[in-house]
């Protein structure tokens, strides 16, 4: 067992034993190979199920506002950014929250592995290598080969706010945000992009896993569920799926912390991040804004500058 896990457990044990928190939200081993699952530890006896590794893919910030009482949370960089936005938006009481920060090298993209080896029967991770036994064959991967797309462009692997840091921090280059993925899509023709999104949207079954996995989708009633006005019909079709996704992305504009939870949650493999990333890029380029990188910031659409760009205007 590595030191980080040990420290997480000890911290949790202490917090619970001393009554500083009612619950610790962290990860435990899941029921499937390469899957961790969120867990809620209510007493110090339970802390030994807590783990930390490259399978801890869920954004635990999703749970924080809905969990009553004082709570501790194991937070990666992206989780902490989501927490920052939630704080900016009055969704959390900082004093009720204890952030156990962990620097994150990224999580594993299981879908990629599954596509190659079939259903995963067994897997183990050690020294940056992942050995997988699958129904269609066995394979060994370097972690970097199967790192989730989100994590490949991550600029905030270290928590932006925390009460305690566990483990080392990760050095981050100070370069401007990179959006090669967005640019690649932008460089395509309108009709190519249209085709791409049509294909993506035809996969969507409107199960709302993306929305529900998102730490920042916390509306009491989502616009897609609203009866009056009825933004969407009850239909599940490509056009309205896109309306849902585009509407959702607009609602995340200047708030999305690019954690990738939506894409990972999607059972249909819809490239939801393609929309969010475009939005993130626009907000970054136009307003020099990154969401949730400090407790004090504001969501981009909550503020404005007299000099905001306005290339979008008609030419007349």
């Amino acid at each position: 067992m590595n030191k980080i896990i040990n420290d997480i457990r000890e911290t949790a044990r202490q917090l619970l034993a001393e009554g500083k928190v009612d619950v610790v939200i962290g990860y435990e081993k899941g029921s499937l190979p390469l899957k961790a699952t969120p867990c809620f530890i209510h007493s110090s006896e339970g802390v030994d199920s807590l783990i930390w590794d490259e399978t801890c893919e869920n954004n635990l910030a999703t749970y924080v506002a809905k969990t009553p009482g004082k709570k501790a949370i194991v937070a990666k960089g992206c989780d902490s950014r989501a927490l920052a936005v939630l704080l900016q938006e009055n969704q959390l009481v900082r004093d009720d929250l204890y952030i156990i920060g962990v620097s994150c090298h990224g999580v594993i993209d299981q879908r990629k592995i599954g596509a190659e080896v079939g259903e995963i029967l067994e897997a183990s991770i050690s020294d940056g290598k992942i050995s997988v036994k699958g129904m269609e064959g066995d394979k060994e991967y370097l972690f970097t080969e199967v790192k989730d797309a989100t994590c490949q462009t991550c600029r905030y692997p270290n928590p932006v706010m925390e009460d305690l840091h566990i483990g080392d921090t990760i050095e981050v280059s100070q370069e401007a945000a990179a959006f090669a993925d967005v640019e690649a899509l932008e460089s395509k023709s309108d009709s190519e992009r249209q085709e791409y999104f049509k294909e993506q949207m035809s996969k969507c079954i409107r199960c709302y896993a993306c929305r529900n996995a998102c730490p920042l989708c916390y509306c009491q009633e989502c616009f897609v569920d609203c009866n009056s006005p009825r933004w969407l019909t009850g239909g599940v079709n490509r056009a309205e799926n896109l309306l849902f996704q585009a509407g959702r992305v607009m609602h995340l504009a200047g708030r999305c912390v690019d954690c990738g939870a939506c894409s990972r949650a999607c059972p249909q493999g819809v490239d939801i991040r393609a929309l969010n990333r475009k939005m993130t890029k626009d907000v970054y380029v136009m307003y020099n804004h990154e969401s949730g990188i400090s407790e004090e910031g504001k969501p981009a659409l909550n503020e404005y500058s007299a000099n905001d760009p306005e290339q979008f205007l008609v030419k007349e």
Binding site: E186, G235, A239, L313, V314
Partner: protein, 155 residues
Amino acid sequence: MGEIQVETENKKYEPKIAAFLCNWCSYAGADLAGVGRIQYPATIRTIRVPCSGRINPLYVLKAMANGADGVLVSGCHPGDCHYISGNYVARRKFALIKSLLNHVGLEEDRISFSWVSAAEGGRFAEVVKGVTERVSALGPNNGIFKVVDGGAADE
């Protein structure tokens, strides 16, 4: 003055454009075009709103889903807002939705944004002409958002 020439295969096609105009500037500019009898195409269907800041980006999506051939949103010039900053608040939303919709493959010219002041009657007419021309060139909305009979229009 004013007759626009639209070169499309189907000459009879006349787009229908949902136009959101802010009460204090653009709606007044549109009135001024009327007072000046400045002719422009009869393509827009105006919805008067107090301020461009009132425009929810979802309106644009809804208009597209409902099959409007175009959407025009017009407000006060930056700094002229009757409510001080409504159009500044709106501006970010507009820039982002325009860029996003273009990214997902909606034709750029379906959605138009402009600032037209209460004194710019002529410019209002120019904007409508320009928007109409560009929307006409695209042909009817068969776009990725349009819903017909419970399905995407082109499914």
